[in-house]
Amino acid sequence: MLKAKYLRSFLPLAFTAIAFSQPSVAVLDFAANGLPAYEVETLVERLRSELPNTGAVRLVDRKMLDNILKEQGLQQSGCTTAECSAEIGELLGAQFMISGSIGKLGDSFTVDMKMVSVTTGAAESAKSLTFEGTTGGLLVEMQILAWEIVDLKPPQALMLKRTGADGGEKITVAIMDFDPRGISQLEAQTLTDRFATEVDATGRAVLVDRRQMMEVMEEQGYDDAGCTSEECAAEVGALLGVGFMINGAIGKLGDTYTIDAKMFEVATGAAAKTKNATYNGPVDGLITEIEILAWEMMGVKPPRNLLQKRKGTITQEAAPAPKTPLAAAVRSALIPGWGQLYTSNALDNEPLSRKKATYFFGAEMGAGAVAYLLYSSMKASDDDTQKFHTQYLRATEAETIRSLKKKSDDASNSATSSKNQLTILLYLLGAAHAYNIVDAYMNGPNDAMAHKNNKKIDLVYNPELNQPQLRFTFAFD
């Protein structure tokens, strides 16, 4: 208890010691050139609030700064020279002073700042930035500058905010190098880069810089080729602070290339989109296919000029299968409960359909097992009937005749009984199966769930044959 008491007394002292071990910094208001003073004040305030987060410096209270300036008869914005800054800093007891200016030229913002040592009067660090975008985006830049002015690397999350600065409803995505299968790592990287470039070109995603991603992976002890599992990708994605990760594989089988790409949500691990393509044709056509895949992955129609560049033959292009009540009914007709399971999957694992699938499958399998047992019993009894009857017809002794006749009749009765039970059971099984099919149809995925491009037959252009082709597709899932 005494030890804890001493420890509690010592802790505030320890924190104070740690706090005073950091150099103190005061941030003066920046000069405004071409934009309202209040906007500049807001931007500098963001710089001030971010500086303590760096853990490298201790920020001098703004009120204290204002009081000193008032006593000296100066306005903050009026103290722009290094000498003035050093003088104020000395009065504040600060070791460093940060001052600067923010200007606007057309659509560009400029930020210039420097950190001056109060003791020497020399500029310890200076940063300049030209930014194109909104003032909101500039707020993030001020946060980043807060780290950079104290010579620290900004955190990944902040860097991602920067890349998403121009807003919109973009998603943040990191793309892992595609797993090479039958091609070299370098080729896979090149194709991944092309994919990433095209994803960026869609304007639907904010991409994490490859270098940043590699750094995170290195920190986690992964090399690029070693992080192919979804778990690893999700881990890296979480560290990068992205919403989605894309990984995949590019394979080569003879003259055929396979491309598999999957985008999944980092937070849940759920697959957001999966695209597969099998391509047969020249290599440059493969690049085009990868570019097209990038657009499709982002849910955007590829540009016409890209589609016109298409070469070779896409023999398979897996898209989300259309979910229809009829498809559910057909599935349930083949395997009891399959249609309900199919519906459940269409409704994002809807539990009721999943339960029904289990019940239908279980009930019909159970009834099927009982039916099999009854059939076996009937068959065995029928075989006995025949065996005893044959012996009965040959028998000559009265006792033997009577005994065999009885055995044959008993076996026959047993076979008839089993057959009757089996008949009833099969009728019930048939009714249950019909109900299973009707249920699958009635509660099957509705039109709204059906894929928009629900085409069984469509007309496609085959550039290799230089002619249109009629294509028939059927989903097996």
């Binding site: 025949q386 009965y392 005749i401 008839t416 099969l426």
Partner: protein, 163 residues
């Protein structure tokens, strides 16, 4: 259901109620044969007691059937092993359509109880017909060792069909 069960309704000709024995019967009770082919029947004595001799008279349609061959059964044969001998003789009248079969022990004070085969008859079908009847006639006899008649309570019939 499509799977049919075995039909065990066919009766053994020797399966006669004890109140209706002794009997003389055919086995089988029906045969189908092509024209010109043979149809084989066996004649059995059923549940006879103290039997020493059998006279089985079989009537048939001589226009449709002819007797090709008649062989002895084995009812009295086991007695040969004990030093007894049996006698078998048949007489066919192809005009009247009557076949007389005699099968008996040689000597006195010998008899047998039970069921057994008396003879095997081979008929030949002469022409095509739907059905013709074979009968054990009332002239048939069972006798004991004292040559006393044993009443025959069941006299069998059989049918021959052509296809």
């Amino acid at each position: 259901m499509a799977c049919d069960l075995y039909d065990n309704s066919e009766l053994n000709p020797r399966d006669i109620d004890s109140n209706l024995t002794p009997g003389l019967v055919f086995d089988p009770v029906s045969r189908t044969a092509p024209v010109g082919a043979a149809a084989e029947f066996e004649v059995y004595v059923v549940a006879a007691e103290n039997l020493s001799g059998v006279h089985a008279q079989v009537s048939y349609d001589p226009n449709r059937l002819s007797v090709t061959n008649v062989t002895s059964g084995d009812f009295f044969v086991d007695s040969v092993q004990t030093g007894q001998s049996s006698f078998f003789i048949y007489d066919d009248d192809p005009v009247a359509g009557v076949l007389d079969i005699n099968y008996f022990y040689m000597g006195n004070e010998i008899n047998k109880t039970g069921t057994g085969k008396i003879a095997t008859i081979l008929f030949n079908t002469k022409q095509s017909f739907a059905e013709t009847l074979l009968e054990i006639t009332d002239a048939s006899e069972l006798v004991d060792e004292d040559d006393v008649d044993i009443e025959i309570l069941t006299k069998g019939t059989a049918t021959v069909k052509t296809n």
